[in-house]
């Protein structure tokens, strides 16, 4: 059986990759995708512990996170679309709120 640490390290890598993506990419779309990556990392951690501790709480949480992620994507993509419509760009540095 694969030890739990493998899963956790993979989850950490996913989370950090996502985080780096959010921080260094300018495109709102890519940032959204990176956030999804971070959520996937967190989900993996939840599921791992759920499996190794023999409790279903983690899996239930993972479903919740997926639902939230779906909602977030729906809203996020809508924002991205209207950004493109109004400002003709998805570059977060160019959409100055002021």
């Amino acid at each position: 059986m694969v030890p739990a640490s493998y899963y956790l390290i993979l989850a950490a890598i996913l989370f950090v990759l996502g985080g780096i993506g959010v921080l260094i990419r300018r495109s709102a779309l890519v940032m959204l995708m990176s956030v999804e990556l971070m959520l996937a990392g967190a989900n993996l951690t939840l599921v791992t512990y759920s499996r190794f501790l023999g409790k279903v709480d983690g899996q239930a949480f993972a479903f919740l996170v997926m639902a939230v992620a779906a909602a977030e994507v729906a809203v996020g993509l809508a924002i991205a679309v209207s950004l493109v419509r109004h400002k003709d760009t998805t570059d977060v540095d160019e959409i100055d709120p002021c």
Binding site: G19, L23, I24, V92
Partner: protein
């Protein structure tokens, strides 16, 4: 009969309610009639109760006071263990006070009906006067310190309202304020005493407190008694809080007669007498009462000698006579203190009503040196005033003689030589200022004609004292209407007859008022009329007679025989005259010592504490918030990735803290 006692205070209250609510539809006569009838009915009831009381044996089966009843009215406050009943206490002392209050009130109400006829705010006047009577009856009939306090504050408010009755006049408004503020000082003492009593005894009802007085520590009793006496000295105008009474003369003259001579100012005496067991437990407190009383008597009398304002002479005289009452109570002869209270109520009310009649005739003039020669013009007033003067001077056969000589005698026997001598000196002074007022006002050449013509010219000026309306009607000097004269004549009769209630012991006849009141003081260790040898009483009577005759002769010589001598004398002894006529600079001392420091303190507080402290704190909070906002708004850059970085950094910090904690344990 007992079940109707509550009507005695309730009837004046009914008068207040009727006149205050429906009075606007009534004519002036009806308003006055309602007010007078309400008080008169309560006097009639009180007399009935008194007669009933006389039919009950004075000694109960168990040896206590048989003429003492508490009458429940309603349950007032119920919270947990604290239960306060509103009850009336009917005994010899309270029925005496009730009779004095209601009888003088009735007469003053009738007098007022004529005196205030021209006044615009007739209804307001009678409403307040009735309210005063109600509050005074609550004060004297209440069976606990709490009820007494209600009445105490109530009469204070009525006094304030009636002193400032002509509040359009600056001086009246100031005088009302002064009376109220000075009384607050005393009321504060009274309130502290009440709280102390409650904390020591656990009850405020008289029937619980007074038996428990003997169990109090003497020191506690002293503190309580002195605080009570502070309250009494403000209400009854004793040193050092007498300063409001002369100014209280700004009110209408019937008000001065009722409130500031006959009834309210005697509340302090009543309170001291009522709480005698507390004062006796303390011991030293009674000495204080006696000394303050006799000093005030002397002090007030000297100021009355040089005063030229008709009503203020009477005010200082009242202060002086109240001093006698406290002297009587202070040497432990409460019955004689109350006797002096009773006779004084009649003859001083009479004196004030005479003064009102004179002012009525002269269009509001109050300077006695602008009167003179009124004997022929105002014969009835002259006669009534003569009775009052003879009474106040302690001329034999008049009331003041009996009550004052008894107190002077007891001051020697129960107190000490110094108290007695001071009281004797004051008696001489009383004779002098009484007859000075009488001679200057009613004899000599009329100095009034020129003045009254001038006052008619100055009719429009509001600086004129007395009722503005009276100035209007001053068409020459005229005797007052019968509605004013009748109460004066009744009071004159009472001023003579009331003295015979307390005949001196040396005559071998019974002292009726002492016998009547004595059972109320059965627990007292001191209250027996002096056992001293009768020669002291003869000596006191003789000395006071000699002194009074000298004083009257001197007044006659100075103010009738050799008009003008007094002026020369006062000039040759200028410093003394100045000292006294400036009221010993007490007002100035209060101004410097109390009023100005308080003003300075208030100014300091308003500029330092208020502006910098409280306002500073409020504006400080505001400024802090706006500064913090200014600082924080720099973080709001609008750069999305910066936010994300901060977010992540924070999460990383939290995680590393948790990790470190779990690793390091």
């Amino acid at each position: 009969m007992l079940s109707y006692v509550w009507l005695i205070p309730a009837l004046p209250l009914l008068g207040v309610l009727v006149n205050a609510t429906a009075g606007r539809w009534f004519g002036r006569r009806l308003v006055a009639a309602i007010a007078s009838l309400a008080v008169g009915a309560s006097f009639a009831l009180a007399s009935l109760v008194f007669v009933t009381m006389l039919g009950v044996p004075a000694t109960a089966l168990d040896g206590g006071n048989g003429r003492e009843w508490t009458i429940p009215i309603f349950r007032w406050i119920v919270t947990g263990d604290l239960k306060v009943e509103a009850r009336l206490l009917l005994d010899q002392v309270s029925i005496l006070m009730t009779l004095v209050v209601t009888s003088v009130s009735t007469l003053v109400h009738i007098y007022s009906a004529a005196y205030m006829r021209g006044d615009e705010h007739y209804k307001r006047y009678f409403t307040w006067l009735n309210l005063f009577v109600f509050m005074m009856l609550v004060l004297v009939l209440g069976d606990s310190f709490l009820t007494m306090y209600i009445g105490w504050e109530g009469v204070g408010v009525c006094s304030y309202l009636l002193i400032g009755y002509w509040f359009e006049r600056e001086s009246a408004a100031e005088a009302a304020k002064k009376a109220f503020l000075v009384n607050r000082v005393g009321d504060f003492g009274f309130l502290l005493a009440i709280l102390l009593i409650f904390s020591k005894v656990g009850s405020l009802a008289f029937q619980d407190v007074f038996p428990a007085a003997s169990a109090l520590a003497p020191a506690a009793a002293t503190v309580i008694s002195l605080l009570l006496f502070l309250g009494a000295s403000a209400k009854s105008a004793q040193i050092p809080l007498y300063i409001w009474l002369p100014h209280a003369m700004e009110g209408p003259t019937p008000v001065s007669a009722l409130i500031h001579a006959a009834t309210m100012v005697t509340a302090g005496v009543y309170m001291v007498v009522r709480c005698y067991s507390l004062f006796e437990r303390s011991g030293s407190a009674l000495q204080w009462v006696a000394w303050i009383g006799v000093l005030t008597a002397l002090f007030g009398a000297t100021m009355a000698i040089v005063e030229t304002d008709l009503k203020r002479i009477l005010a200082y005289s009242t202060i002086s006579q109240l001093g006698y009452m406290f002297l009587g109570a202070g040497v432990g002869t409460y019955t004689m203190g109350l006797f002096q209270l009773t006779t004084h109520a009649f003859y001083k009310a009479l004196f004030f009503l005479c003064a009102g009649s004179v002012m009525h005739a002269l269009g509001g003039e109050t300077d006695i040196f602008k009167m003179g020669g009124l004997r022929k013009r105002l014969p009835w007033t002259w006669a009534a005033c003569l009775v009052a003067v003879l009474s106040i001077s302690g001329v034999p056969l008049f009331a003041g003689f009996f009550s004052k000589d008894e107190i002077m005698h007891l001051a020697f026997v129960e107190g000490n030589i110094a108290l007695g001598v001071l009281a004797l000196v004051t008696a001489g002074l009383s004779g002098f200022y009484g007859f000075r007022l009488f001679f200057v006002t009613f004899y000599g050449s009329p100095r009034v004609v020129e003045r009254s013509r001038r006052s008619r010219q100055m009719r429009a000026s509001s600086s004129e004292r007395g009722a503005p309306s009276m100035v209007e009607r001053a068409q020459g000097i005229h005797e007052s209407p019968w509605l004013m004269l009748a109460p004066m004549l009744i009071l004159a009769v009472l001023s003579v007859t009331s003295g015979y209630l307390g005949l001196p012991k040396v005559l071998g006849l019974g002292n009726a008022i002492d016998q009547f009141l004595h059972p109320a003081f059965s627990a007292s260790t001191r209250s027996s009329l002096g056992e001293g040898a009768s020669w002291t009483q003869w000596a006191v009577i003789g000395a006071s007679l000699v002194e009074t005759s000298i004083a009257i002769t001197l007044a006659w010589w100075l103010y009738i025989r050799k008009w003008g001598t007094a002026e020369r004398w006062s000039q040759s002894a200028g410093w003394l005259y100045n000292l006294i006529s400036n009221k010993y600079y007490v007002d100035q001392a209060y101004e410097r010592g109390v009023v100005q420091p308080l003003r300075a303190l208030a100014a300091g507080l308003s500029s330092a504490v208020e502006a910098r402290g409280i306002d500073g704190a409020v504006t400080g909070v505001g400024r802090f918030v706006s500064l913090a906002g200014e600082g924080l708004h720099r973080l709001n850059t609008g750069r999305t990735r910066q936010y994300a970085l901060v977010l992540l950094a924070g999460a990383a910090l939290i995680v590393s803290y948790l990790l470190l904690r779990s690793v390091l344990g």
